[in-house]
């Protein structure tokens, strides 16, 4: 029984980490309809900035997180204006080509600027303690990530479903021409949505760095994982993404505990099974 | 004459909502029937039930004496039940010649051939060309569909249906969206349809309905409220109520 609880805790924590890192991609893919393979690259940029701020400049963790988000968005603005704007509404394959190109470039630049070694983001002492849950210990950082995930899920849900901007955003995506006719400035909506997605990517990159450490190849290494969880959840749906992350996290964790040799099989067989049962993703809407 | 197409007591509900209720409709070869009804009457659902895109909760669809209720859309097409689309569904990158060739080959079960192009099949080319000529679009045979005018695309839509040599043809608003100048050609094409073909046309344009139909069926709120001659339809009280009522509703909403 204790083992079951223990796996449950690990699974939940892992699922939340996946969620925090991937949710930004759900925004770009589901709401902006851009297959953004460069999502990991932006997460990585966030991680590098935070690492530089916290480790080399010795700034506080919270400050480093803020800097990472702001810095990544700042870097992303010209990228959005010059490159992404050209692929909105284009075919998926074109988007794949462009965003893979961007990813390659960012990897190359990161490798050149920061070198190929791993970069850590020193967390405050409070987050480095193991915390006892009675039957086992977990690191405080995991609990922190779970809290972050919950906050992001609620905040984003509120932003998209409840604010005026969220309404405009959904309108712009569903029918850009109609939204424009109603006075919505779609290019502003897109730019803001992109900034939100990139900010989330950076945030995820930083708080998830304990599990997915920052190095130049980060952008490609985890690309598939991000793509899979978002698509399984149904791109653009926050509850869907959350459900997919928790479900896949649980399957992955359980599989790795019970039969670590076949961990990879469990994960991808589960992916196939889920998509087989829900061909549009867990929370997919009819197209 | 025996019915070639026979819908019996068809019923469909979505959740608790009854969208098609006990609908029966029978047609013989050569029939020209118009199906009309106000918006939201369930025409689209009816078409989908007949073509097999959705399955009914009760009732049956018979085609040439065979029960096709449980068959999928492609099976029904292969048995001679063909539809056209209200909004053209064509292959934008292909030419009319290719469209009709594909339809002919599909009809003959030759569409899976992997060697030799359709152009090397004289019978297909001749039949296709004859069909395009009949509809007056042969001169566009080798233009991409994305490059030809909408009225001509509607004609091609018709050609596609005909190339399948249907026994029963469902025309879903064949003149919808076509500029005035082109409707005459489409009407002519419809008038020239083979005389042994049973045609069910879903249409809003009453002028067209009166010129085309020998029989009019009115669908309202999922039920058939009228089935009779074009002359009688305008005099029918329930029909008037269904239409005028819905117009009144529509106005109050707007």
């Amino acid at each position: 029984m204790q083992t079951v609880f223990s796996i449950g805790v690990d699974a939940f924590a892992y699922g939340m980490v996946l969620f925090v890192i991937s949710i930004g991609l759900s925004v770009t893919m589901g709401l902006m309809r851009v297959v953004n393979l460069a999502h990991g690259a932006f997460a990585m940029i966030g991680g590098y900035i935070a690492s530089y701020a916290a480790r080399d400049l010795g700034l506080a963790y919270a400050v480093a997180v803020m800097l990472a988000i702001a810095g990544t968005i700042l870097i992303a603005i010209p990228v959005e204006r010059l490159l992404y704007r050209r692929i909105y509404g284009q075919s998926e394959l074109t988007q794949v080509l462009m965003t893979i190109g961007i990813t390659f470039c960012i990897i190359g630049i990161a490798n050149y600027v920061f070198g190929p070694t791993l970069k850590t983001i020193p967390a405050p002492d409070a987050l480095r303690q193991p915390i006892s849950l009675g039957f086992r210990t977990v690191s405080a950082h995991r609990l922190f990530v779970i809290a972050c995930g919950t906050a992001v899920a609620l905040g984003l849900w509120y932003f998209i479903e409840r604010t005026a901007f969220g309404v405009k955003m959904r309108a712009a995506v569903d029918n850009a021409a109609m939204a424009a006719a109603l006075g919505v400035r779609t290019e502003v909506v897109y730019a803001v949505s992109f900034a939100v997605a990139v900010g989330l990517a950076a945030f995820g990159g930083v708080v998830g760095a304990e599990l997915l450490p920052i190095e130049p190849y980060y952008a490609l290494r985890y690309m598939v994982t991000f793509l899979v969880v978002v698509s399984v959840g149904g791109a653009g749906s926050i509850p869907g993404a959350l459900a997919a992350c928790l479900l896949l996290g649980a399957i992955d964790t359980t599989g790795r505990y019970l039969m670590p040799e076949f961990g990879e099989f469990f994960f991808y067989l589960a992916v196939i099974a889920i998509v087989w049962l829900f061909p549009r993703g867990l929370a997919g809407r009819a197209e | 004459m025996t019915a070639i197409f026979d819908v019996r007591n068809l019923k469909k509900t979505f959740g608790g909502l009854v969208v098609t209720n006990d609908v029966s409709l029978s047609m013989a070869p050569g029939d020209r029937v118009a199906l009309i009804g106000p918006n939201g009457a369930g025409k689209t659902t009816f078409v989908n039930l007949v073509t097999g895109n959705i399955l009914p909760n009760a009732g049956s669809v018979m085609l040439c004496g065979e029960d096709v209720t449980r068959l999928g859309p492609t099976q029904r097409v292969r048995r001679g039940l063909v539809r056209s689309f209200q909004v053209t569904r064509l292959f934008p990158e292909m030419t009319p010649e290719e469209h009709v060739a594909l339809a002919i080959l599909q009809r003959e079960g030759r569409s899976g051939r992997m060697f030799a192009s359709h152009r090397a099949m004289p019978d297909v080319m001749q039949e296709g060309h004859a069909l395009l000529s009949r509809l007056g679009i042969a001169h566009l045979a080798r233009h991409r569909v994305s490059e030809i005018a909408y009225g001509q695309q509607r004609l091609l839509e018709l050609a596609l249906a005909l190339a399948l040599k249907p026994k029963v043809l469902l025309l879903d608003e064949p003149a919808a969206g076509v500029p005035q100048s082109d409707t005459a050609r489409i009407e002519q094409a419809i008038a020239d349809l083979p005389s042994d073909l049973a045609v069910l046309m879903i249409e809003h344009d009453m002028d067209l309905v009166f010129r085309f139909a020998k029989r009019v069926v009115v669908l309202a709120a999922g039920e058939i409220i009228f089935d009779g001659s074009p002359d009688a339809v305008t005099k029918d009280a329930r029909v008037r109520q269904a239409y005028l009522g819905s117009y009144a509703d529509a106005r109050s909403v707007a």
Partner: protein
């Protein structure tokens, strides 16, 4: 007079041909992609050697041509090796970080009359694939066998083995198991985990549940190692007194800054530590650190490359710059020298390097950086893995 002049000219020309050749060495390694760091170390080791020993041997200038195979990709490795041989005309093939990449190129050697100096790839069998293969790195068997003895002698009798499910991991598991069971210990469980593992918490739980007193681990460097070691600490295994044993790949110097405190006290066995205390090593580290730019990035592939260059220089010297693979390889059989890692010999029979293996512990230096502190030496270790191949 005229005759003499012609003869002199001819001699000069001939001499010129014989003594001012450019001898090309083709180096295949991961210079981009996830293992770029290891390729960078190859280059640093080679640059260091050439900086210290000049870029010519007997009048022949050495030119290095690099070819990039980012991840294990035998087909690409073979195509590039072939291209190096037939197009660039290299006399020596070297490098090879991944075993399959080295294996793929071995069939070329005899036909091309080219020796191969393996600077990293660590599967025992490579040297058996062609008589023209010489290895200056190590094998996983070589570095993993001593730790089994260390573990047993240290009082750990029950161990769980956790390795990544790929060639080197399987090798490490086999080496440790053989050594540990021969000593009288018990492997309570042997787990192979997929290479792509992000979250190690379930594995840690599994280790706890196994009742083992220690864990033997082998994982690829970088994120995987970091994740594993962190999870080991965070899940309370370190506190719980579970011992950690691994070959030194896990605590390679380039990962230590990231591992940081988490790695403190980890014991590993390996053939080289950057901190190794010898004059030879000081010289090497200085030159290699300069070559690589950031000294923190320096780790073991550099020394494999450095010694590989030493072997190649000897080969060139022995053949007088002529292309003669058999003679070149013969010349270095039994070659012994003082490497930065300590005394080494190329075993005449296997053409693999015989060397000291050191037991090390991760320690913190006075300046706050972490390093592998050598605490015990196993002298003149050959490759026990070769016995298994045969």
């Amino acid at each position: 007079m005229k005759k003499l002049a012609i003869a002199a000219l001819a001699a000069a020309l001939l001499g010129g041909v014989a003594h001012a050749d450019i001898i090309k060495v083709g180096v295949v390694g991961p210079f981009s992609g996830p293992f770029a760091l290891q390729g960078k170390n190859f280059k640093a080791g080679i640059d260091a050697y050439m900086a210290l020993n000049g870029n010519s041997v007997g009048g022949d200038t050495i030119e290095i041509i690099y070819r990039d195979v980012p991840t294990a990709d035998p087909a690409q490795s073979k195509a590039l090796s072939q291209e190096l041989v037939v197009k660039e005309g290299v006399q020596y093939l070297a490098g090879f970080y991944f075993t399959p990449d080295a294996m793929a190129a071995t069939p070329l050697l005899e036909q091309a009359n080219v020796p191969m100096v393996v600077m990293n790839a660590a599967t025992s069998a490579i040297v058996t694939k062609s008589p023209y293969v010489v290895r200056t790195s190590f094998t996983t068997w070589q570095t993993s066998t001593p730790i089994a003895k260390v573990a047993f002698d240290g009082g750990t009798k029950k161990v769980i083995s956790v390795v990544s499910d790929y060639g080197p991991g399987v090798d490490a598991e086999a080496a440790f198991k053989t050594g540990f069971e021969a000593a009288g210990g018990e492997i309570v469980e042997a787990i192979r985990i997929p290479l792509q593992t992000n979250d190690f918490s379930p594995i840690m739980q599994r280790i706890k549940d196994s009742g083992a007193e220690g864990v033997f681990a082998f994982l690829p460097s970088g994120p995987t190692t970091l994740g594993f070691v962190k999870a080991f600490n965070e899940n309370g295994l370190k506190e719980g007194g579970i011992k950690f044993f691994a070959p030194g790949d896990l605590t390679q110097e380039s990962d230590l800054p990231a591992l940081g405190e988490a790695a403190l006290g980890l014991t590993t066995t390996f053939h080289y530590a950057v901190s190794h205390d010898s004059a030879e090593n000081k010289k090497f580290v200085e030159a290699a650190a300069k070559a690589i730019g950031n000294p923190a990035e320096l780790s073991f592939p550099a020394v494999g490359a450095y010694d590989g260059m030493h072997v190649i220089y000897k080969m060139i010297d022995a053949t007088g710059g002529e292309q003669d693979a058999a003679k070149a390889v013969d010349a270095v059989k039994g070659l012994a020298w003082e490497s930065p890692r300590g005394p080494v010999t190329i075993d005449a029979e296997s053409r693999h390097i015989t060397q000291n293996i050191y037991l090390r512990e991760v320690a913190r230096a006075d300046d706050g950086t972490y390093y592998n502190k050598e605490i015990q030496t196993f002298e003149n270790q050959g490759d026990p893995g070769l016995a298994v191949v045969k």
